[in-house]
Amino acid sequence: MGTVAKIIAQRLGLGILTLFIVSIVIFTAVNMLPGDFAESILGQGATPEAVAAIRRDLGLDQSPVSRYFDWLGGAVRGDFGSSFAQANFASFTGSDSGSGLTSVAQQIAPRFANTMFLASVAAIIAVPLSLTLGVLAALFRNSVFDRVVNIATLSSISSPEFFLAYVLILVFAVLNPWLPSLSNIYEGMSFPERLEKTLLPALTLTLVVTAHMMRMTRAAIINLLASPYIEMARLKGLSPMRVILRHALPNALAPIVNVVALNLAYLITGVVVVEVVFVYPGIGQLFVDSVKIRDIPVVQACCLIFAAAYILLNLTADILSILSNPRLRHPR
């Protein structure tokens, strides 16, 4: 057990280090912006006093290194500073420094919860579906069923998310008005209502990730079918279904768990386009909107959150694949 704990501790340390360096990359990238935020907010006719006031408000008069550590220290505590879009307004009204500003954390928190809800609905549909399809495709490999599923999944992997989204809108919202095509989610909504509004975006994400997971499940199982113990199970007279479910699947679990975790990581980023299509009030839409109006603190914070989620899930995939390796779990 000692070796496993050591490897996992190493991976965790590496993950934290990666996150730290990623935060430096994000911060440096944002600091490559031309000119000064204060000047660009106020425009050309700004008085030097106003520019200096905004610079002081936003802490832009400090050195980049101290600003970075301020930002990072705040980010760790969940404080991402205040949004420029609101800062702009507050300075014009001449309020005191820092009062009337909406914090980025306040803006992000509810949207982050919405995004997690969307991603988990998608995952709850996608994971069982893709495992079932993968097992079936492995069971009936090289049959017509396998080929049809193969072509269908390959097509849905390679289509852009917005194509799948609009096809789903066309079929389930416009031609047959069963589900709403806009996901206007607000606080205090009942759960079934919320689920109904989330279902179409979640289905789009499901289509995107199911294909990949299903293909990997099929490949992982088929790789094992040449092993001697599968041959043995077959010769014992077990049914093909039983051979796969009892003998192949448990041993194929490591790569499958790995690919599931990687696809959940993909869900986090795939959410951006889907949220824009369905006007879903999640963090992806906030990110795109902030990119367009260059609200830098929000962009920075969203980017860091996305990167953190991505690194965390990749780390989970790593650790799970270590844990599911019997040679590491039971060292001699």
Binding site: F163, V174, T269
Partner: protein, 397 residues
């Protein structure tokens, strides 16, 4: 309510499957039916039911009264498109099997229909992209007198035979924009992929050959860049690039090409380094080094020819990825900039028309055409890559 229908349908199909198997055992008595599991019989019945449903929908789309028929318009297009595509792929393969040299005939003989279809589509896109100015009836940013012409060219439905696919909100011809979109979207994606391969491939091979601190430095740097989700990173950098570009829109498009090329070159670097490292330990590399060959000779004459197959497959996949990223960025409004026509922007601009699908299906088709044009190419490339990987891996079970 829906659940009840589903349950009834499921049980009905299960019973039909059981009946089919029993009938097969009684009437034909072949071992195939004797060994058939109930799940397989159910599968056959499910397939029959699905085909019957599709056939019924197709029949409705052609012969139903005009109040209902528009609702099945897209089903009809999908079915006709699928059959046409399969037929085209099959014909292309048949053509390839009879024409050409012995070598090319052999390649076509072992090819699945999907791969033949993929090659055909890629060829068509290449032709359209190269000859776009000759094929397009109007310019890509030419604003014509009539806006919002419905596709289909039928004056009774609000169409105009001069504009077979109609015009958009400000009166640009959609067909011309689709054709020019092939040139812009596919062209930029191709250039970006080439750039990514040039950068990532060179650095990857260099790291593999030289090793040491250069390899460590580059690899750790690439690890960090790969830890950031690529679309998110691209959006972040595009926000900064748009500040640099200011009102120069062509400059922003240029920045986009560079940004995506750099982000994607990390993946190319990984692969070419891994492939290169396997080749570097070979004896013939040792021999070349002893001969005193230079670095350039080693990379271009010894490693590159041997890394050709995996890199080519990767090129296809990378191209798809870059193409989808560019389309997504354009769809989000920060990619290829107007006046250049491109498919992602077209989908975003025309998306609202989808809401007319229930009563005026022709009017709703332009956004789906643009999105479908993207999907068709990526699907085609993936079909070809899938076949290449399958035939080179030698997996047969």
């Amino acid at each position: 309510m829906i659940l009840a229908y589903l349950l009834i349908g499921f049980l009905g199909l299960l019973f039909l499957g059981w009946a089919l198997r029993a009938a097969g055992r009684g009437l034909i008595g072949s071992p195939y039916f004797r060994d058939m599991g109930l799940s397989v019989a159910f599968g056959y019945m499910l397939a029959v039911a699905l085909v019957a449903l599709l056939a019924w929908g197709y029949w409705l789309s052609r012969f139903a009264p005009p109040e209902i028929a528009p609702r099945y318009f897209f089903l009809r297009i999908a079915i006709e498109g699928l059959v046409l595509f399969a037929l085209a792929g099959w014909l292309f393969r048949a053509l390839g099997r009879t024409l050409g040299t012995a070598g090319s005939r052999k390649v076509f003989r072992a090819m699945p229909v999907t791969a033949a279809f993929g090659i055909l589509v890629i060829l068509l896109y290449a032709i359209v992209a190269i000859f776009a100015p000759l094929l397009a009836p109007y310019g890509q940013d030419q604003v014509l007198a009539t806006a919002n012409v419905v596709p289909g060219g039928d004056p009774a439905l609000g169409g105009n035979p001069d504009f077979p696919l109609g015009t958009d909100q400000i009166g640009r011809d959609i067909l011309s924009r689709l054709i020019f979109g092939a040139q812009n979207t596919v062209g930029f994606a191709f250039v970006t992929t080439c750039l990514a391969f040039l950068l990532g491939g060179t650095l990857g091979f260099l790291a593999a050959v030289l090793g040491g601190w250069l390899d460590q430095l580059l690899s750790r740097f690439v690890d960090v860049l790969m830890a950031i989700p690529s679309l998110i990173f691209a959006l972040l950098l595009m926000a900064i690039a748009s500040a640099w570009a200011g009102s120069e829109r062509w400059l922003l498009t240029l920045y986009m090409v560079v940004i995506i090329a750099v982000i994607d070159s990390t993946r190319v670097y990984r692969l070419s380094r891994a492939v290169g490292q396997n080749i570097v330990v070979m004896d013939y590399i040792e021999a070349a080094k002893l001969r005193g060959e230079g670095l350039g000779y080693l990379i271009f004459k010894e490693i590159l020819p041997n890394a050709y197959a995996p890199l080519l497959a990767e090129f296809g996949l990378r191209f798809c990825f870059v193409f989808l990223t560019i389309a997504a960025l354009s769809f989000l409004g920060v990619g290829i900039q107007p006046p250049l026509a491109d498919w992602g922007t077209m989908v975003r601009d025309l998306a609202a028309f989808i809401n007319y699908a229930a009563f005026a299906p022709q009017a709703a088709s332009p956004p789906l055409l643009a999105a479908g044009a993207i999907a068709l190419l990526t699907v085609a490339v993936n079909f070809v890559v899938d076949w290449m990987l399958y035939s080179s891996s030698g997996l047969k079970e």
